[in-house]
């Protein structure tokens, strides 16, 4: 096997602060290399440094050898000539990477035309073949705005690889995709591997497993551990790698609270149905939620999970059916946790003042706050800061604390950890379930990850299947 890409002691720094410690790797024909790590591990910097796409204050050192030539020393214009022809890169956010005004097939055809040198009709023909090959034949003339996240990622894959580059670099290619769409992208990357080599950056253990090959685990810009995929995932040596693998819901212990005696219902739903945009989201939905019960709601994106929550909480009218709450309970004891924690707090105002507002409004006992924060492993000093100055995991736990202060009967948690790193996500879910159970508060936990729900919920309701 010939070496396609050789990286020697590549490091990235900004104004003398090292963001990526010197790292060496090599990529051979037919090989898959996966870099695993959480946000801020410097994985994306590595890909950008190989491509020559580092934004201005960042600087790369070390050597990047392509066919024995150090491309790090090439002038930018010459280096750009490698793009598409030698090195292909899959974008992190396909929706943003596609021209919003250009039909899908054109965005692939132009590569065949301007990079491959084909005539316009031939290029379009090749483009249509490619799109049909990834199941996008029906969407060839659509604009990117009318594609789903998974479709956009497949289109971006076709466009990125149409130039014929043997090496494909993929930066978090499954970000924001649910399980079935994630698997489609992983399959595409396996196909690219057969034609050359693939270097993938991801925080998703499952993607790494499906791609196989060699894995590098990174943390804080440093290599932690490396090895063959099967071996490393089965028997991780480093503590961090173990935590990362353990954070995948597959490896969670079952943390479902022990089922108590018969529970009085806090919410009863009979024959609920709702359509949106001419599409039926659900019909004939029956559900009873008892006190302190943890119920999972699963389904692919767009199946109406969030709409269901809004209907149950009285924020959105249903098309029909009946929703009954426990009698004589104040509205504010049915609450919601949001997918994007910063979106649920007033920005620019210290969190402590927001908590004071709440305590004042409901004349709560201020002394309850400190133990609650402690229970959620939150430093009281965080209250001095504003919501933008706190990490996502901390903010989501603060949101849980804010809700639990009101002693709710029901908490609708809408994908509460999908924007968090895996290790943080596991911790937040565990704390949510435990602390809610201690207060005898029912939780409706929404997730696209069925495995996560199985490990945490008393039972799971599946929505849609039509999506």
């Amino acid at each position: 096997m010939s070496v396609l890409l050789q990286v020697e002691a590549l490091s990235v720094s900004a104004n003398d602060v090292t963001l990526l410690e010197p790292l060496s790797l090599s990529l051979k024909t037919g090989e898959a290399l996966t870099i695993l790590g959480e946000t801020g591990a410097g994985k994306s910097l590595l890909v950008q440094a190989i491509m020559g796409l580092l934004p201005s204050p960042l600087q790369a050192r070390g050597r990047v050898l392509l066919d024995g030539q150090d491309i790090g020393r090439l002038k930018p214009a010459l280096r750009a000539r490698l793009w598409g022809r030698q090195l292909a890169m899959l974008p992190q956010e396909p929706w943003h990477a596609l021209d919003p005004l250009m039909p899908a097939e054109q965005q692939v055809a132009e590569v065949y035309r301007y990079v491959g040198g084909l005539s316009a009709p031939d290029a379009l023909e090749r483009s249509r073949q490619d799109l049909a090959g990834v199941g996008l034949a029906g969407a060839a003339e659509r604009l990117p705005g009318h594609l789903s996240g998974g479709m956009a990622q497949r289109l971006a894959f076709c466009a990125a690889t149409a130039g014929g580059a043997p090496i494909v670099l993929a930066d978090e290619p499954t970000k924001g995709l649910d399980a079935s769409r994630r698997d489609q992208v992983a399959a595409l990357l396996r196909r690219a591997r057969e034609r050359g080599a693939v270097l993938t950056v991801t925080h998703n253990i499952e993607v790494a497993r499906q791609l196989g090959g060699h894995i590098l685990v990174m943390r804080d810009g440093r290599l932690v551990e490396q090895g063959e995929a099967e071996e490393l995932l089965a028997r991780p040596k480093d503590g961090y790698t173990r935590a990362l693998i353990g954070a995948d819901p597959q490896h969670w212990p079952d943390i479902t609270p022990t089922d108590g005696a018969a529970r009085e219902p806090v919410l009863t739903v009979r024959g609920l149905h709702k359509s949106r945009g001419g599409r039926l989201l659900f019909e004939g939905l029956h559900m009873t939620v008892g006190r302190g019960e943890i119920i999972g709601i699963s389904g692919d994106s767009g199946c109406g999970k969030s709409s269901l929550g809004d209907i149950l909480l009285g924020l959105l009218p249903a098309d029909g059916g009946e929703i009954r709450r426990a009698p004589q309970i104040a509205r504010h004891r049915y609450l919601k946790l949001y997918q994007d924690p910063p979106a649920a707090f007033a920005p620019g105002i210290p969190l402590g003042r927001l908590f004071d507002d709440l305590i004042g409004l409901h004349r709560l006992d201020r002394r309850r706050l400190a133990p609650l924060l402690q229970r959620l492993r939150l430093d009281p000093g965080l209250l001095q800061r504003t919501s933008v100055a706190v990490s996502g995991g901390e903010l989501q736990r603060l949101a849980i604390a804010r809700a639990l202060l009101l002693e709710p009967l029901l908490l609708f948690a809408d994908e509460p950890v999908s924007r968090l790193d895996p290790i943080t996500a596991r911790e937040v879910i565990a704390l949510l379930v435990q602390s809610a159970t201690e207060q005898d508060c029912a939780v409706l936990l929404v997730s696209h990850d069925l495995e996560l729900l199985r490990k945490t919920c008393h039972h799971v309701v599946s929505l849609g299947g039509r999506a």
Binding site: L313, L315, A330, R331, H332, Y334, L335, K336, Y338, D340, A343, A344, F345, A346, P347, G348, I349, L354, D357, L358, L361, H362, R402, L406
Partner: protein
């Protein structure tokens, strides 16, 4: 990285200093110098700068220092009045229309559509023709033009905030509408409104000068910057420095306000 002072960028700070200097000039002249801007001295036209008349005199021998300061005071006062009035009306209507939506919103948007069908200066001209030479009509006309921007911007922000998860979360926690306006809406609109206010002030100063220049604004012998330019233009050969004074004053006022607004949109 740009350094910040009082939360302002460097350009904005320069604008603030410029405007503060002009305000000081206009007010201090009134307090310390205090000459009558209309008092003529026909024996002494276009006198050069001297100790008693640092900026010289105009074609009727009137003190340019007094006239310029009076004109700047007039421009600043008018722009302040117009901005406060139009901002109050525009913000209030924008918040109501954006928050409540429905019929009220539709009515206000219709009003907006009419106002948007006419270029601002034409509307001001129409008002000016109702009562020629009246400060009041200029004030009403300019305010009638300026409120539109506040309404549009505030309505759009209000709609976005009202539909946002942060407001939904606060409502669910039991907070009332007033709390949401104070904690969520007000912080979101105050910045854009201040920017619009600075732009609005410069627009009203330009409109006042423009009307004076085409002889449909305030009447002589009022010391007004546009009027002064027309009156002095025929003498530009004899006294270019006198003509330059009102031009420079408008330039500095508008530049200062534009810089304060943040320069580029």
């Amino acid at each position: 990285m740009t350094r910040r002072l009082l939360g302002l960028r460097r350009g904005q700070l320069a604008g603030l200093v410029l405007i503060a200097a002009l305000v000081c000039f206009a007010l201090l002249e009134g307090l310390l110098h205090g000459a009558d801007p209309a008092s003529q001295d026909l024996a002494n036209p276009f006198a050069g700068p001297s100790l008693s008349e640092p900026l010289g005199t105009d074609q009727y021998g009137r003190s340019m220092l007094a006239r310029l300061a009076a004109a700047v005071r007039l421009s600043l006062a008018l722009s302040l009045l117009c901005v406060v009035t139009s901002a109050t009306i525009g913000v209030a209507m924008g918040v109501v229309a954006g928050w409540r939506q429905g019929l009220l919103d539709k009515c206000m948007s219709l009003l907006l559509n009419i106002a948007l069908a006419l270029p601002g200066l034409v509307l001001v001209l129409l008002f000016a023709s109702l009562a020629p030479g009246s400060f009041l009509m200029l004030y009403v006309g300019i305010s009638a033009v300026l409120w539109v921007e506040y309404f549009r911007v505030v309505r759009a922000i209000t709609r976005r905030v009202a539909a946002s998860p942060q407001v939904q979360a606060s409502r669910m926690l039991g907070f009332g509408a007033l709390y949401c306006v104070r904690r969520h809406l007000w912080p979101a609109i105050v910045g854009p409104v201040l920017t619009l206010a600075a732009f609005g002030a410069s627009a009203s100063i330009l409109a006042l000068a423009a009307l004076g220049f085409i002889a449909v604004g305030l009447r002589p012998p009022t010391a007004e910057l546009g009027l002064m330019m027309v009156e002095l233009f025929p003498y530009y050969n004899e006294a270019p420095w006198v003509l330059a004074q009102p031009i420079l004053a408008v330039f500095l006022l508008v530049l200062g306000l534009n810089l304060l607004a943040g320069g580029e949109e």
